[in-house]
Amino acid sequence: MDFQYFLELFFGGLTRGSIYALIALGYTLVYGIIELINFAHGEVYMIGAFTALIVAGLLGFTGFPAAGILVVAALAAVIWCAAYGYTLEKVAYKPLRGAPRLSPLISAIGMSIFLQNYVLLSQTSDFVPFPRLLPEFDFLEYIGYIMGPSDFLILVTSTCTMVALTCFIRYTKMGKAMRATAQNRKMAMLLGIDADRIISLTFIVGSALAAIGGVLIASHMGQVNFNIGFLAGMKAFTAAVLGGIGSLPGAMLGGMVLGLCESFTTGYISGNYEDVLAFGILIVILIFRPDGILGKAKVQKV
């Protein structure tokens, strides 16, 4: 019985963690290349959820099959988020390359507030129900207690996405160029890599991942609101820092660890301080081990 409860919490935490990981990848990719905390990344996730909601809503009126709607909506979310990510970088960050370190961060915070209010004003301040598109099947009665179909779908989708990303980074030409730029931008430029294009690409990939996270969570929770990006973004950032910002496996690991921590604390102790826990982890990691679990210490250049 108790072991079963442990498993329940474990898989609950894993589901939650995999969403954090998906968003955290976006933070880590961008940070790895231009050392910028893309504060508006959580908002991209929120916009992904909203875009999917709108597309799914429109299709819903036409009587499309649910699974089809989900795929089309997710695709639309990915495309639009990628476009938002690309534009975001061009408008708010690119003009600030070479500026003092804090300028792009302030610009990013400004962008985050802007996007939140853009959605608030153009859509609504209320929670909006997201159509139920996930297939509801009673698969395997016993496992059903540990994880439901939507948890399963989230886990599978996010795992596949992460595997795909890893392959992309490792084996494709563009992925290699990204890694080279992350390691040494000047050197990469000398080797004929167009750094601007790689940076754009990074934002596009990161935003697409956030969109997938947004669609998954929106269909899982069944509601969307202009404000969901802030908390999810902060949690994902915590995950990225926890794993070692700049490191892809670190972001995945960090997401899982954070998800599990939250799940177990709520399950065994109390949920009252769930968010305090995440922020606490963030602070403690940044102060005592800013390179996270998998990050490597960097020597300060003088």
Partner: protein
């Protein structure tokens, strides 16, 4: 021509980009869709104009010209005015006079709004020490404000302490929190520091929300007394006016302190810290001490402002101290110009008073705050009023009679 084509393309891109969110509004509850093509069209026109302006701004920026600049003769006249001591004094006198006379000539409501605005001036100036002078980006400033407000609330509720006892205590507690935060984050790089302070701010707010026994939880603390004047119970109007003068005095004090500080050895060290941390340390400045001073000085004003805030609204709850409030104060500093006193004060006044008097503005206020932060960083990172250069009297030059105060 090419520029126009390019701008048209940009406008088209934004039309596609914003299409789903701007044009389609779905209500899944009532299963209705409303279309707003007019919004997208308006946006496209706006973006087209902006894109033209954007290029122009960049061409100016790349040539090292300021993006906004006034015509030469006006600038010259303005600087002549600025340098004219008599005129400066007269205008200062006028502003101070207007501020002092304000509650006597205007309604209770306006006085009240003005108190809010002045409180934000105080907060923005306080944050300006940390962010503007010392260059340490703090994203949880509202937490110190909360510490001040709750110091008064809690001490009054549990121990019956009055306003005047709590005012210094609020400052002291805020400083203790500032040092408590400052100490562990000494070694952190700028962007990590920003995130840690954000986390700290949220933790403070969440703790206020959860710790019901002490703080009243989300219900907050009500019926906090307004300050008394030598034991005389004041009427509403009387006490509002009284608080107004109190805040005004506090703002004057803040301006005086920051003005003197900026001119001093400590002020120079703070600025050096902002400009280059490593060089600063190599010049013999104790980084730990100077950073902690910055945190202490900055948080102290937030503490005072918090106590006055609690006394003014008589009711406090955690929702007044969110991340968005911190961002609002930060955008005042960014808009006003890091390190500038008059700029930050003007920016705080504008950003608080505009939504009160322009209803249309109030809906878009956070949107505009966000935009301000982005655009200022790109086009005018030094703010509206760029840090005024200080003047120094050099004995050698004075002796030679060559110039005097330059």
């Amino acid at each position: 021509m090419q520029r126009i084509l390019k701008s048209a393309l940009v406008a088209l891109w934004f039309m596609v980009l914003t299409f789903p969110l701007l044009a389609i509004k779905i209500n899944p509850v009532s299963k209705t869709v409303s279309w707003h093509f007019d919004r997208v069209a308006m946006l496209a026109v706006g973006i087209f104009v902006l894109a033209l302006g954007w290029d122009w701004c960049f061409s100016r920026k790349n040539r090292g010209l300021p993006v906004f600049s006034l015509p030469q003769n006006i600038t010259a006249r303005m600087s002549a005015i600025a340098n004219n001591m008599a005129l400066r004094r007269a205008s200062l006198f006028f502003i101070v006079g207007a501020l002092v006379a304000m509650p006597l000539t205007s309604s209770l409501y306006q006085t009240n709004i003005m108190i809010s605005a002045l409180l934000y001036v105080m907060l923005a100036l306080g944050l300006n020490i940390v962010v503007g002078l010392a260059g340490q980006l703090v994203l949880g400033y509202a937490a110190f404000y909360a510490v001040g407000a709750y110091t008064y609330g809690i001490l009054f509720q549990h121990f019956g302490l009055g306003f005047w006892a709590c005012l210094p205590l609020g400052g002291v507690f805020a400083v203790l929190f500032g040092l408590g935060l400052g100490f562990p984050v000494l070694r952190l790089r700028g962007d990590y520091l920003a995130i840690v302070t954000l986390g700290f701010g949220e933790i403070v707010r969440l703790s206020l929300q959860n710790w019901s026994d002490l703080t009243g939880g989300p219900a907050g603390i009500a019926n906090i007394p307004r300050p008394g004047l030598f034991g005389v119970d004041l009427s509403l109007e009387g006490s509002t006016t009284y608080i107004y003068y109190l805040v005004l005095a506090a703002v004057f004090l803040t301006v005086l302190v920051i003005g003197r500080l900026r001119n001093s050895r400590v002020g120079l060290a703070l600025k050096a810290l902002r400009e280059d941390e490593i060089a600063c340390e190599a010049m013999g400045i104790n980084l730990m001490r100077i950073k902690l001073s910055a945190f202490a000085l900055g948080s102290c004003w937030a503490g005072f402002a918090g106590v006055i805030f609690a006394a003014k609204t008589t009711f406090i709850n955690p929702s007044s101290f969110t991340f968005m409030d911190s961002c609002m104060i930060l955008s005042m500093v960014v808009l006003g110009g890091m390190g500038s006193i008059s700029g930050v004060a003007i920016a705080a006044m504008i950003l608080i008073l505009a939504p009160e008097y322009l209803r249309a503005f109030s809906e878009y206020r956070m949107l505009i705050f966000g935009l301000i932060m982005v655009l200022m960083m790109i086009f005018r990172p030094q703010g509206l009023v760029s840090g005024e250069k200080l003047t120094y009297r050099i004995s050698a030059l004075l002796a030679k009679g060559k110039g005097g105060a330059a």
